[in-house]
């Protein structure tokens, strides 16, 4: 779950009030030992809540720092991670490198401006940015806004549910593995579909879509939604 990105200097990370991965693992083991020793000798665990938080992916931590604290260093970190990928992604979609950079700029500014729309319970940072990138691409290509579903209204003071956020990260890791295990030809079709190069008729005739994985993700997404909607109506 914790993906340390190459090139990211941990020591200079202003957000890094969390242990390194190795420390974290040993701490987890220590906690288990503590739990076992409790039977013999009751002991108080230290900081069990912040322990959970340390496992968010870097992208989630950066995005939350941008959303909640308007943290520019975190935004710069998001830029370093996503801008080159976005550029590659947009060029793959058939856009010239120069125009691709304009779209990257648009997308990055939108991330900053609409950060309050980011909800880690519902979307991974990459999924959220993907959606913004698709919108900007359409807005520019068609010169009209892409119709978007109504945003879900949420209780603003609702406490973040770390287990839900981590659960979503875990699912995404599984999705990533499922996509990585596809045959190259299948993988290519998926890429084309999600780059927007296939029509819906073409997508419906493709058999390579990892529908099983998507379906399980939908089930979990529905559980989360019901949970959230229940909170709203109470």
């Amino acid at each position: 779950m914790l993906q340390l990105q190459a090139g990211w200097d941990l020591k200079s990370d202003p957000l890094l009030r969390r242990p390194r991965k190795q420390d974290m693992l040993t701490q987890t083991i220590d906690r288990q030992n503590l739990a076992n020793s409790e039977k013999v000798m009751p002991r108080r665990e230290s900081e069990p809540v912040s322990q959970v938080k340390t496992e968010y992916s870097n992208e989630t931590i950066w995005m939350l720092a941008v959303r909640d604290n308007r943290d520019r260093d975190a935004f710069a970190a998001l830029f370093d991670h996503f801008a080159p990928r976005l550029k590659g992604f947009i060029i793959k979609g058939g856009v010239s490198p120069q125009q691709a950079e304009e779209i990257v700029q648009d997308v990055m500014l939108t991330i900053w401006r609409k950060a309050d729309m980011f909800d880690p319970h519902r979307a991974q940072v990459s999924a959220w940015i993907y959606q913004i990138a698709r919108n900007r691409r359409i807005d520019i290509a068609r010169k009209e806004n892409r119709p978007m579903p109504e945003a879900l209204k949420e209780e603003p003071e609702l406490e973040p549910d770390a287990s839900q956020i981590l659960g979503l990260e875990q699912e995404t890791t599984q999705l990533k593995q499922a996509l990585a295990s596809l045959k190259p030809e299948q993988r290519e079709v998926i890429e084309k579909a999600y780059l927007g190069e296939l029509t819906h008729q073409e997508i419906s005739t493709q058999t390579g879509l990892p529908l099983g994985t998507i379906k399980s993700r939908i089930r979990l997404g529905l559980q989360r939604l019901r949970h959230e909607l229940k909170d709203l109506t109470q």
Binding site: P84, A127, I129, Y130, P149, Y194, L225
Partner: protein, 211 residues
């Protein structure tokens, strides 16, 4: 919400997520998703796939100046796009198409009314108002059509469609939807072809009505 039984097929949802769905259908899909938790979850799953593809994309170096240029713009003033809320039976994306106004109904005869929200060579989006027992103006044999029920219900050879249900029909489906008894049926109809009626209005009058 739980009563919705006709959903967006996966391929269409994937195309919507990827931005390759024609604009008229994107309005219908965004409107259905606004009303349907099931399809919202499904859409989020497709966006998660897109996110993984984005994460795995080979990075292409950006110009040295891009980062500073963006960082310098973070404080620049900007006008947020207006957000259109749901109003009565009309979901946000429909309100956006109407730019917040109420429908401007035009009579089509037999009590049927319509409001064309957009129409060009790539397709059209319009609202239809159909009194109970009347046939829904049918524009099949002409590309794909999506009909989203916003009020009341209609039935045809393929089943019954209530509020939130999305019917998708192509030229292979010869159907005659009829509004059910009770409240008048109001629906959003989107097509990717130039509009054409089989009934109600003679072909000659079509240019006049832009249908």
């Amino acid at each position: 919400m739980s009563a919705i039984t006709h959903h967006v097929p996966d391929a269409i949802l994937a195309a919507y997520a990827a931005g390759s769905l024609p604009q008229a259908f994107a309005v219908a899909v965004a409107s259905h998703v606004s009303l349907c938790a099931h399809c919202r979850a499904a859409l989020e799953a497709h966006q998660a796939v897109g996110g993984v593809i984005l994460e795995d994309t080979k990075a292409v170096a950006v110009s040295a100046s891009l980062k500073d240029s963006i960082l310098a713009q973070l404080d620049a003033p900007f006008t947020p796009e207006p957000v259109y809320e749901r109003n009565g039976i009309f979901p946000g994306p429909v309100m956006e198409m109407m730019q917040g106004r109420a429908p401007r109904w035009k009579k089509l005869g037999m009590g049927v009314r319509q409001d064309i929200l957009s129409a060009d060579a790539h397709g059209s989006v319009r609202l239809l108002y159909i009194p109970p027992g009347q046939a829904v103006p049918d524009h099949s044999h002409n590309g794909l059509e999506m009909t989203l029920v916003l009020q009341g219900s209609f039935s045809d050879e393929t089943g019954r469609f209530g509020v939130g249900d999305l019917e998708i029909a192509d030229e292979t489906v010869e159907h005659t939807p009829v509004a059910d008894p009770g409240a008048a049926c109001v629906c959003l109809a989107a097509t990717d072809a130039k509009l054409r009626f089989n009934a109600l209005v003679p072909r000659l009058l079509q240019p006049l009505f832009r249908i």
